[in-house]
């Protein structure tokens, strides 16, 4: 258990936890806002989503719906990129320092 206390005091560990949880919760909140924003539009303003883009039949709802899909993927990409470049380095350091 002393090892546990040691890790908890490790500045690298604190850095990891701070970075990962702030990014994780922030991105989750962004996703929730985007998605429930979309759902509330569907529920309260369906006619807004039905406004045609220019003179054609394509409505504003099509790019909005598709961009929720694309944004979901992009946000996931941002997290994975950050995690690959910074969290894994910190984790490796923590593991190195607390071996034994």
């Amino acid at each position: 258990m002393s090892n546990l206390a040691k890790i908890e005091r490790d500045p690298n560990y604190r850095e990891l936890v701070r970075r990962r949880s702030s990014l994780g919760w922030l991105l989750s909140a962004i996703m929730l806002v985007i998605y429930f924003g979309f759902i509330l539009l569907v529920a309260y303003a369906p006619k807004f989503l039905g406004i045609p883009l220019g003179s054609g039949v394509t409505t504003i709802g099509i790019p909005i719906g598709l961009s929720v899909i694309v944004l979901a993927f992009v946000l996931t990409g941002i997290y994975v990129r950050r995690a690959n470049s910074s969290y894994d380095v910190l984790i490796r350091k923590i593991v190195e320092e607390n071996r034994s």
């Binding site: 429930f36 369906p46 409505t59 099509i62 598709l66 690959n84």
Partner: protein
């Protein structure tokens, strides 16, 4: 017959092409046996059986059986997760929904996708770091093993059961239509193959069947969407213009329609789709098949990409079917067409067949055969994943941890798992036959509602909230489970459609209960936990710090390979 064709030609004078071909349909045979489809399907089954044989020779330990020995790469697992998620319900169901209602189909697709980022940000890595074979490994990490395992097994088994029934009934109907087989033969065939894959090949075979199917489905859907866009000079505007001209709802298919009538219902459905994803046992299990947390996070990234891409394709496919299927009498039922005057309503075999008919329209009989075989493969792969998740819950959580207290002999545990698979397979066949003529559309929604209201709250609270106690998790989890089931039974979809009570008499107006059942679960977990002064509660809270360090760093995490 000739006279009839002539009569219908007069009746449908406004659409002469339909009338001409409608006569041909009336005179033709019923669903002809499609040899191309059967040939390709037999090819697929042959290939998967070879894989199962290969996997069986390499499946010795419990880790091999439950988690493919941890030897799946992030990319492969991404494909397998996408495969588990892209069920026949989402392929045929969503393209069918787009076909009948246009934009409404996109609302569902979006909902089904947005759970994945949440899984990435909050669950994937922690799950891999804390668990070994099932998600109950994570929820019971610091809590009372027996109670939490029983709760998790109930949540898993109920979710799996409803999902499985929906898939079996869909499979029977689809195969009946595609291959001209009797319903019961189709159900027995699916159940039988599923039992072979899982009992002999375990997770290794199930994963590879899933990967192959995902690749086939993605390529087939890409080709179909590409062919549709090609016909319209790669201009979505031209596709939409044509669709709004031929669809009876006209421009209304380009905006939200009647699918989501009241705002609370929309939010509730949104919650179920988003958080249900993060509580599906057969999906959560996939995170244990990769080597570490890094691979787990990469796999969700790939899966999100594949699934999002696939949903965009189904949207194009649905619109393609509006323009190419609803206007071609070859795909329409002449008598319904005569009554309703709508090609959309008259589609042969119902709206779920939109994508299948479109395959014929753009690629001829050979491609129809390919897509039919892929649809069948999809069902097989998904039911196998579900059966494995259910069986693991019985053998690992109930037998291994509750009955044997964590000291089960590995070989005994695998044997129990195989027996459980056989029992689940027989049960799935039986229920599939019992529910043949029932409306089972609500069952997938129910599975998501239970996953969102029982599995997800307990999982996320156990990972992040120090104050969670065993008692809180059990009480809140069961409250969520019960309120989700009761909420679905009292909803219009079951109360009015399935049980046949008067329209408008449903006690709960929400189509999906997630809005209140999730709230009840979280409130129950929180309240009971903070009031819990038992000895066990102190142990539960004390265990959090060690769990948190491991969830963040992976130090001490199961290496997945037991040998």
């Amino acid at each position: 017959m000739k006279k009839f064709a002539w009569l219908s030609a007069i009746l449908l004078a406004s659409v002469p092409t339909i009338a001409l071909a409608a006569g041909a349909v009336e005179g033709g045979a019923k669903q002809a046996t499609n040899w191309a489809a059967i040939g390709m399907f037999v090819g697929f089954v042959g290939l998967t059986l070879v894989i199962t044989y290969w996997a069986a020779k390499r499946t010795a330990s419990a880790a091999d059986f439950y988690s493919a020995g941890g030897g799946i790469t992030g990319f492969q697992n991404g494909l397998a997760i996408a495969g588990d998620y892209m069920s026949a319900a989402s392929f045929l169901g969503i393209s069918g929904l787009v076909y009948t209602s246009g934009y409404d189909g996109l609302i569902y697709s979006v909902g089904w996708l947005v759970g994945w980022p949440i899984v990435t940000f909050l669950i994937a890595e922690q799950l891999r770091n804390l668990g070994k074979f099932t998600f109950a490994d994570v929820t019971s990490f610091r809590l009372g093993q027996t109670e939490i395992r029983i709760l998790a097994a109930c949540g898993s088994l109920v979710t799996v059961a409803f999902y499985l029934i929906a898939q079996m009934v869909g499979a029977g109907k689809l195969i009946q239509l595609l291959f001209g087989l009797d319903y019961w033969i189709a159900v027995v065939l699916v159940g039988g193959l599923m039992m072979i894959y899982v009992t002999f090949g375990g997770m290794k075979a199930t994963t590879w069947v899933q990967i192959i199917k995902a690749v086939l489905l993605l390529s087939g859907a890409t080709f179909m969407a590409g062919a549709v866009l090609y016909k319209f000079g790669f201009s979505p505007e031209a596709l939409f213009t044509k669709a709004t001209e031929v669809h009876p709802k006209k421009l209304a298919i380009m905006e939200p329609g009647t699918l989501i009538s009241n705002p609370l219902s929309a939010v509730s459905l949104g919650l179920a789709l988003m958080f249900g994803t993060a509580g599906l046992p057969h999906i959560l299990m996939r995170f244990f098949t990769v080597k570490d947390a890094q691979a787990a996070r990469k796999s969700v990234f790939y899966a999100t990409g594949f699934i999002g891409y696939f949903y965009i394709l189904t949207f194009i496919i649905g619109f393609g079917a509006i323009t190419l299927v609803s206007t071609d009498a070859m795909f329409l039922d002449g008598s319904i067409l005569e009554k309703t005057k709508s090609g959309i309503a008259a589609i042969k075999g119902g709206s779920n067949m939109a994508a299948i008919h479109l395959a014929n329209a753009v690629g001829g009989n050979l491609f129809l055969g390919f897509i039919s075989a892929v649809a069948f493969a999809t069902i097989l792969a998904v039911v196998s994943g579900l059966a494995l998740a259910g069986a693991s819950s019985i053998s690992h959580d109930l037998y291994g941890m509750v009955i044997k207290g964590g000291n089960a002999n590995e070989q005994d545990e695998i044997r129990v798992s195989k027996i459980a698979t056989l029992v689940l397979g027989v049960l799935a066949i039986f229920l599939g036959i019992v529910f043949e003529n029932q409306n089972v559309a609500f069952m997938v929604g129910l599975a998501f509602a239970i996953a969102a209201s029982c599995n997800f709250p307990v999982l996320v609270m156990s990972i992040f909230w120090k104050g969670l106690t065993t008692r809180g998790a059990v009480v809140g989890g069961f409250l969520g489970l019960v309120s989700a089931v009761v909420g679905v039974v009292l909803s219009p979809a079951v109360w009015e459609v399935t049980l046949g009570f008067a329209k408008g008499s449903a006690p709960i107006k929400l189509d999906n209960p997630a809005l209140f059942s999730m709230a009840i679960a979280f409130a129950g977990i929180w309240l009971v936990s903070i009031l819990d002064r038992s000895k066990r509660a102190a142990v539960d809270r004390d265990g959090f710090d060690a769990q948190y360090v491991r969830s963040q760093t992976g130090i001490g995490a199961a290496s997945a390979t037991a040998h």
